[in-house]
């Protein structure tokens, strides 16, 4: 696969936030991820695209060690965030997940009030000194999730009562409330209608100011709209990684070209 990895020549404008080397993932007997090497930059939106079952979500879940919760899943290789190996024995996966926030495919607000949903992470990690402090954190997170204006008058209403798009933005607000450095998004718009999708995409663009965002998406248009860098996965391999513009206009690998033009997928 080495010949396919053309990104080594690209000029990196931002510092590297996440560096993955020779990552392999096995689900029982299935070899789900093969030899993935990738550098994800800070304050950049990186999109993972590829056909269903190509391993892009699996790889995403390696970055915050969510795969640890699956018994049969085995990860080898080296993933470093800011130079620190996250699979090192010294690293507490629970602590890591506070630093690497995640937004899921389906909006999954807890059956609690909007306020408690956002305050969940800060409470667990003891980020607030007092009630007023917590109120501030919640307000800031909801504002950053671009949903403050819609919910500020009903913070005690159940989070499950919001519309799908609002729920997803609430989940994003919930994720940013713990002050993560990286935000992982696993097809965050696949359960949303076009208007909600547009709102979330706009939000992702704003989040780029503060975070390193990694988004898995099925929609190539979405990848083109929101990301600066794009990685194309196919059958567990990282086929091509580079500037989004380049991937979509002049892909180097024939498989990338086939996927983008709709011949595989």
């Amino acid at each position: 696969m080495k010949d396919a990895v053309s990104w080594e020549n690209d000029v990196t404008t931002n510092t590297v936030k996440i560096a993955a080397r020779d990552v392999q993932v096995h689900y029982g007997d299935t070899h789900a991820i093969k030899d993935v090497n990738v550098d994800i930059e800070d304050k950049t939106v990186t999109a993972f695209i590829g056909p269903s079952g190509c391993g892009k979500s699996t790889f995403l879940r390696c970055i915050n060690r969510m795969n640890d919760t699956i018994d049969v899943c085995r990860v080898t290789g080296d993933i470093r965030i800011d130079g620190e190996d996250i699979y090192d024995r010294k690293v507490d996966p629970v602590q890591l997940r506070a630093k690497v926030g995640m937004v899921f495919q389906k909006p999954n607000p807890f059956p609690k009030s909007i306020y408690d949903n956002v305050a969940y992470g800060p409470r667990i990690h003891g980020l607030a000194r007092n009630k007023a402090d917590l109120d501030d954190i919640v307000e800031r997170a909801l504002k950053r999730g671009a949903i403050w204006d819609e919910v500020k008058d009903r913070l005690q209403a159940p989070g499950t009562g919001l519309s799908g798009g609002q729920q997803q933005r609430l989940c994003i607000a919930r994720a940013v409330a713990t002050e993560p450095e990286v935000l992982l998004m696993d097809e965050p718009c696949s359960a949303l209608d076009p208007i909600a999708t547009a709102q979330v995409e706009e939000l992702i663009d704003e989040l780029r100011q503060n975070y390193s965002v990694v988004i898995v998406t099925h929609s190539m248009q979405q990848a083109a709209r929101v990301s600066q860098r794009t990685a194309f996965f196919h059958l567990g391999n990282l086929v091509e990684f580079g500037d989004t513009d380049k991937i979509f206009t002049a892909p180097e690998d024939p498989r990338t070209e086939s996927y983008i033009t709709g011949r595989i997928g």
Binding site: N64, M66, T69, D71, V94, Q95, L96, R97, A98, K99, G101, M102, V103, F104, K106, N108, P109, F110, P111, K112, Y120, G121, I124, H125, T160, C171, R174, A175, T178
Partner: protein
Amino acid sequence: MICATRSQIGGYVGSLLNAGSVGFVVIAVLVLTAAGFVLVRGRAVASVSGDARRLHSLPNYYGYFAGMMVAVPALLLTALWMLIQPMVIQNTVIDLIPADMVAEGSSVNLVMSDVRRVADGLDVAVAQGAMTADAAAALEADQTDVRALLADVGVALGSDVAAPVLEAAQKYRVMTARGTGTMAFVVLALAILGLIAAMWMSTGNFRARNMVERGVLVLLMLAASLAILTTVGIVLSMLFESMNFFRMHPWTDFFFGGKWAPNFRGDSDLSILPLLWGTMYISVIALLVAVPIGLFSAIYLSEYASSSVRSFAKPLLEILAGIPTIVYGLFALLTVGPFLVNVFGRGDNGLLGVEWMSGATAVLTAGLVMGIMLIPFVSSLSDDIINAVPQSLRDGSFGLGATHSETVRQVVLPAALPGIVGAILLAASRAIGETMIVVLGAGAIARFSANPLEAMTTITTRIVSQLTGDTNFASPETLVAFALGLTLFVLTLGLNVLALYIVRKYREQYE
């Protein structure tokens, strides 16, 4: 000689018919059904000259249809006949018994059971060849010792047979034989009629498949309505007996009195309140044991256990649910009770050196064992409910850096709470209705006391004790059992409805 032999054989066959004729009729109907299947299927195929594709339905459907036509009306009639015949015969026979005998012997049912017993005894005697059918019909109570005669063939009677009873028994035999014979004839005729009708209808265009479909629908509806009707029947019978009770005993004493002191000479204090107190006290202790342990084991099994542990531990836990409650009762009586006495009683010889508990039967004994019984119930229901909480909620919580127990405590349990409350209410209604454990473990003294080391009694134990032994179903001391039962029924029904309502409301949240 020949004549006697013939009548002997006749009697033998007759009694065989009598005893086994219902079985004979059913077998005959089943044979006819099988024959109908083959015949009608064959006729349907023949009607399209062997080309099954031209039939409306597959050939077997014509066979099923024939089976339906033969078996269903015939068997229904058999069942109905067997239900009604004894009633008709009893109403006729009862006229032969003088009214004073009934008054003396306390109830019509008791006399009738004597009659049936003598009649059965005569059947046995005839069947074994101890006497001829004619001789059995001609017996006279004042000439023969019927009791000794029946004892010879192995039928023991409680007392000498009075003349009217013997006469009634003979009449009973004759009518039963005649009725059963008529039934056999009518039922077989109906079955053959059904067969003929099925033959006549089953030609190429007949929609046998649709008819079978309709038959299946009726069968299913019948089964469903039978379950509901039985419940209604049970409630009504309890209601009528309870009304009899309240006619004899003031309802104010039953619901608001403070004493339970049944006295079979009459003038009893029959209040439910001390019993209700005992029931509630024991149930609360049982739930205090069962809910934490059951819930924790459910959390372990559904959240922490690996699938191999789970596949091994869950069936094991559910074995507990399969243990008969009488065995739990023995456990209470022989193991838990004496152990508790050892701890809390026996003065200086006991473990604590105190003299708080005198007997093995106590509220605590019954409560603990009942709690153990309820553990698998609570755990299995809670396990299902916890598993129904979507994985996405757990992922969301883990994704925010929560630990496993934080996730369980703050996300999974709150989401599952309504369902768990429902499970606890169901467990409570089982605790309230539980009988054998409290019969053996709780004692028999009705009182208001807060001391869990004392013996107390419950509604269910009192129902058992009021109805066991020689009972007379005309006294309030016996009939109170039905009022107690009805109250218990209303109580548990209320809890079940509440629990189901809560569980259902919870389900809608995720679907």
